[in-house]
Symmetry: C2
Subunit: 220 residues, 2 copies
């Protein structure tokens, strides 16, 4: 009888332990699978971003010109933004109103040279203003489309590898990075990323120049 | 012996059921406690928003002028944005570059008349442009501060009840709502909301006019 009592209690304890283990596993899985959420504010501190482009040479001056007057080895909002963009391994879909920042241009061209598929959607007017880097991207062979159907194509978002959303108030300009109060929100939350992927696809298709030519040749 | 076997199995089953119940409770709690995430794209469809302000009179024309030419009873990106703003019960912290939209002004004034504490932080230049509603808000007794330390105070975010973040590319203007390609991201995710609450607090304190006066009277 004593033996059976021990067995009964033992069985109960084993069942309880097993279930608690299951719960703990679920909690661990939930935590380790937690989506990335990050917010950056601007203006960014001024610092050399050479290290972001050449992480294998972390020590100044080997990674930078000896005459570079900027602080080195400082992590800033801008260096974090660059790192997130440079994390792309397969695709970068960029939908931005104004693009004149040379470091951001360098990041996009670096991705292109790594074989990342890049699509840029921008505003028809701002693509042509002085300082715009859109022409440089086009000359480098990057596929660029201009939105023609609205007053301003005012988005400022990027989707990295169809997984990571980078969005906010910040245009890809030097003033935005260094002089304005701006925000960038970075997230992997699918409920937030998926609508932006769909919107990019919609705008990309809507602004296919081939479609525009077809429309122009329709009977009037 | 038979009786003990039954008891042993019974105890084990009870323990297992109890543990599974615990797991199910956790899963339910996790689901029901899921954070709100929503994305809106603009331009918004044109529709009458009278119903958003008077939800108790849902039927046209009782909630609207009989001569209103806009579609009624249509849920649009703009009506959803208005609803999220109007959901405030205790506070609205608004940090916006340009504010000229009359419906958004009406929403802010409606919240004020309900006793919601409103703070508005805006850009020094854009607060004074033709069509800006910042002066109207000030005259209505709403506390407004202008950012003076940057080229542009370019944020476009609001925090509702220190809980819900509304942010994106959209300025609070008619063009943004009706004519531009814009986005608004709405989230309750604390990792995203908290940094914006802290940034608002920082900018609010930094732009306290009392501090500016104090600085001006400092020895030179």
């Amino acid at each position: 009888m004593m033996l059976w009592t021990v067995k009964a209690v033992g069985l109960g304890v084993v069942a309880l332990a097993l279930s608690l283990e299951l719960l703990a596993w679920f909690l661990r899985r939930h935590r380790s699978g937690r989506t990335l959420n990050e917010v950056l504010f601007f203006p960014s501190e001024l610092a050399c971003v050479e290290q972001v482009f050449n992480p294998s040479s972390p020590h100044f001056p080997s990674s930078c010109s000896p005459s570079c007057p900027l602080p080195h080895g400082v992590e800033t909002s801008f260096s974090r933004l660059l790192r997130r963009i440079l994390s792309a391994t397969s695709s970068l879909d960029l939908c931005v109103f104004s693009f004149s920042n040379m470091d951001l241009r360098r990041a996009v061209l670096a991705l292109q040279s790594k074989g990342v598929t890049i699509r840029v959607l921008t505003d028809k007017e701002y693509a042509a203003i002085t300082g715009s880097q859109i022409g440089v991207l086009r000359k480098a062979g990057i596929c660029v489309r201009c939105d023609t159907a609205s007053v301003y194509m005012h988005h400022k978002f990027a989707v990295v590898d169809s997984r990571l959303l980078i969005t906010g108030s910040l245009n890809w300009t030097l003033t935005a990075v260094q002089s304005n109060k701006e925000n960038i929100l970075i997230t992997e939350e699918p409920e937030l990323v998926q609508p932006f992927i769909q919107e990019f696809h919609r705008l990309w298709v809507d602004n296919d120049p081939a479609r525009h030519r077809y429309r122009a040749s329709e009977p009037r």
